[in-house]
């Protein structure tokens, strides 16, 4: 085969010797086991990919320093990095290249953006490659795939959980029996926001005694928020939610509310998604305008990871250890755990091991709820939202209590 392939290469059509099969690595106890990371390392989402890369590299270092995979004679883990670039098509393309060029991969994770993950898993599933993801979309684990594992609460679940959680946070923070009754939302009209808002506008709010007093929708990129801010101001909600999807829009919204004298000490605000808690937002919007804004997201390192956070900051020079990096870190750890259990570098066995994981320690400790068990769809059971709050230019975990380093501040107005 190899000879013939070389000949075809000579004909100008390059061909590799790798085969597309689910075959595992040949050696019984390989000296190294490859896992893949497929994330955006270029294009508009590159920053998120790089944050994942930092977390993953630290995890690989930690695993190998601790003696590699013990059940496989101390085999080292090796991270193979692929770039999704900037579109689903390219992400899928990269996945195709990845499975073709690295036939002995035993698992992988990525691709941050749900669209990319949806596309790439169409490829990984077809070659039975176990795949872990932090992406939120319900569709990722709604296709009956057997080898895809979603560690975040899904988007629908997040939308469902969000309002009760805010009410709980607010009443607990105030501690005087007060509950919010009026709320407002500003969201863009991208697909994920539209489906998220459908749930927010649903009957759940009424059950909680909440009335939606303003519901503003815009087309990103946002160019001027003045009218929306004026509507919100005159509607006088008890809190305001943001369903924006990118940092520039976040900045504009935070700035405009501050300009109208509605910082979070006058109007509590909650943003959805990891982009509300990245250093770039701090750089453009400034600590003052962000102060007090709550951010709901799928994971955040808590007080239990204080030591890890310190090492991460020292190694990378990042201001904090956040959502994207901890997910990459924990995914490497979960794959390591599955490899320990399966004892062989065989992707189907690794997939089975992932499916049967049921832990509350080890890698599970990197989730706020400390549980690691995937249901039959591949969704992590017990996955819950967490909340961070901007305090003096740094997002600090305030919910759930298992990770909280600070108490949430909810102003009395």
């Amino acid at each position: 085969m190899t000879d013939l392939s070389r000949r075809t290469m000579g004909l100008g059509i390059a061909a590799g010797a790798a085969t597309l099969s689910t075959r595992a690595a040949r050696a019984q106890t390989p000296s190294e086991v490859k896992i893949a990371m497929l994330v955006p390392l270029s294009g508009p989402w590159a920053r998120q990919g790089i944050l994942e890369q930092m977390g993953a590299r630290l995890a690989i270092e930690d695993v190998n320093n601790a003696g590699g995979i013990k059940s496989m004679g101390g085999a080292k883990m090796k991270l193979i990095e692929y770039d999704t670039q900037d579109s689903s098509e390219k992400a899928k393309d990269a996945a195709q290249r990845m499975v073709a060029q690295e036939p002995d991969l035993v698992g992988g994770f990525g691709c941050w953006l749900s669209s990319f993950t949806l596309a790439a898993t169409e490829v990984t599933e077809r070659v039975s490659l176990p795949w872990l993801t932090l992406s939120y979309s319900d569709a990722i684990t709604g296709r009956g795939f057997k080898h895809v594992f979603q560690s975040s609460p899904t988007a629908d679940k997040q939308a469902e959980e969000l309002l009760p959680m805010i009410v709980e946070l607010a009443s607990r923070a105030r501690g005087d029996g007060w509950k919010p009754t009026k709320f407002a939302y500003i969201g863009d009209n991208t697909a994920s926001s539209v489906s998220f808002m459908k749930s927010i506008r649903g009957p759940k709010a009424q059950e909680l005694g909440l009335t939606m007093v303003a519901d503003e929708v815009y087309t990103p990129p946002l160019s001027d928020a003045t009218t929306m801010v004026q509507h919100i101001r005159s509607a006088k909600p008890d809190f305001l939610g943001f369903q924006s999807t990118n940092v520039p829009d976040d900045k504009l919204l935070a700035d405009k509310f501050a300009e109208f004298g509605l910082r979070s000490n006058k109007l509590p605000k909650i943003g959805g998604g990891g982009h509300w808690a990245v250093p770039e937002l701090l750089n453009v919007a400034g600590a003052e305008n962000l102060e007090g804004i709550l951010v709901a997201l799928a994971n955040w390192p808590g007080k239990r990871q204080a030591d890890l956070e310190k090492r991460f900051i020292a190694k990378t020079g990042e201001p904090w250890f956040g959502h994207d990096s901890i997910f990459a870190y924990v995914h490497v750890m979960i794959l390591k755990e599955a490899l320990e259990r399966s004892g062989v570098a065989d992707r189907v066995k690794v997939s089975q091991a992932l499916r049967t994981l049921d832990m509350t320690d080890g890698p599970a400790a990197f989730f706020p709820d400390s549980t690691l068990k995937y249901d039959e769809k591949g969704r992590r059971m017990g996955a819950k939202l967490c909340v961070v709050q901007w305090r003096q230019g740094k997002p600090v975990p305030v919910y759930p209590p298992s990770i909280a380093t600070h108490e949430v501040i909810w102003p009395k107005i």
Binding site: A18, Q101, V123
Partner: protein, 588 residues
Amino acid sequence: MRYGSAPRLKKDLVTLGIVSVAYLAISAFVTNSYYQLIMTLVPVWALFGVSWNILSGYGGQLSFGHASFFGIGAYVVTLALVYWNLTPWLGIPLGMIVAAGAAVLIGLPTFRLKGHYFALSMLAYPLAILYFLQYLGFQEMSLPMHRENPAAYLEFTNPHYYTLVGVILLILGVFVCMLVENSRFGLALLSIRQNELAAEAAGIDTKLWKMRALVVSGMLAAAAGGFYACVLLVVTPDSVFGMLVSAQAVVVTLFGGVASIWGPVIGAAILVPLAESLNAELGSMLPGIQGVVYGVAIIAIMLAAPDGLFWTIRDKYFTPKPPAPLPASLAANAPPVAQPAPAGSLLMKVEGLSRSFGGLRAVSGVTFDVRAGEILGIIGPNGAGKTTLFNLLNGVLSADEGTAILGGQSMLGKKVHAVARMGVGRTFQVVRSFPRLPLLDNVIVGAYGAGFTDADAIASAAHALERVGLSALAGVPAGQLTNKQLRLMELARALAGAPRVLLLDETLAGLGREECDDVLDVLQRLRTEGTTVVIIEHTMHAMMRIADRFVVLDHGRVLASGLPRDVVENRSVVEAYLGKKWAAKQDA
């Protein structure tokens, strides 16, 4: 089918067969799934290029928005599979039907535009559809996986089968393109590309042919798009309706060779693997560098081979065989022409014909008769309204007032091709030829325009060539003809439609004295054969030699008419041509 198309078709089919088998054989040895994917994408983009080539290459209707049809194919396949569980085996044909409908809807308003305006409007459609699909919530559609019986849903675990399906689709597409190229369809499109007005004047219903081209082209694009969706697994509006998709069709075709069957195939076979491997090897190191390298490669090849690789290589290395002369029997089979009206009888009557452009009366109350079998010369200084008069007569411009009757039927208020079908042949000041096509094919367009069947058209064209004395050159590409021969070719093209009257617009322009005499001899011969000619000409001595009567136009009015001798001695005519001073001198 065009003359001599059978052996050409056979040769092309054999080539197609050999290339396909060789390609599939190579693909069988490629075991890396990524390279296999590239081998699947080559026929997809080649087919898309073939589709674009039919409308924009042959037809010259530059479309920057062919992604409309590609995307429709992809989305129909995807949505039908997701919502109705319809297998792509049926989804692809369904997509082609939907694309045909879309082509009609898009063509009806857009073919009102020409040139750049057409190209730019075409660009708008995929962008509009893209946002519409986003609005509908179809941002990312993944094709559901079928674990049971995947082949029934065009899903294969062995990627070689994808390549096989791609190649089969491409074979079908190329075959359609061969049929188009070798029939009157292709010639009609080529003539539209050369000059839409001239094509209309030759009797070709350009709107209808353009629409047919758009429909065929849209269907092929949809087939490519539908199959692409199956390979892509995840369809997003950007990946099938995006700017880059439209550009892909343009680029592979321009690179490989416009208006050639093999152009898009060659272009795709080189550019797709190049782009993919650049993307794979360089994309992660220097994001965007692949686009730069790709762009530079295209610019380089465009500078070195502006017609595309196919034509450049063919022109450089393959000198075509000297063409075989036409069999003499061919011309003899020309369809019998209706008996020309008896010489001297009234053939065409123009009365009070007027047309203004704003305040300028370009043609004003022009009245004259054309008698059967005569050569009527229309003369007058520059800007006298001669060409405008012709444009009014054959429907290019509409008249404000007046009548023009040919054999009892009004010529006014009709489309250009309809006037041509009435028996009005016309040539233009600037010759428009198809340089790569043999002379016979250049002439045959006129015969097709008159509505002849294939056999009659070939015979009629051969007969027309014989009448202008170019029979010996029938197989020579028009690009190798001299200026005089090109003028005669245009004359033959107009004659091939067996017209009742010929309108010749400055047929002698740019010819030397001897060449001029040769053409005049041909015109005189035509007159003896009973052909009626109305000719615009500047060269006075030539007109004096052949015209039976003159009509002199100045400032849009008939200044004088009558026998040549009388007219040139008419004082007002001399004044119009040479000025009052000269006229006074003459008098003295």
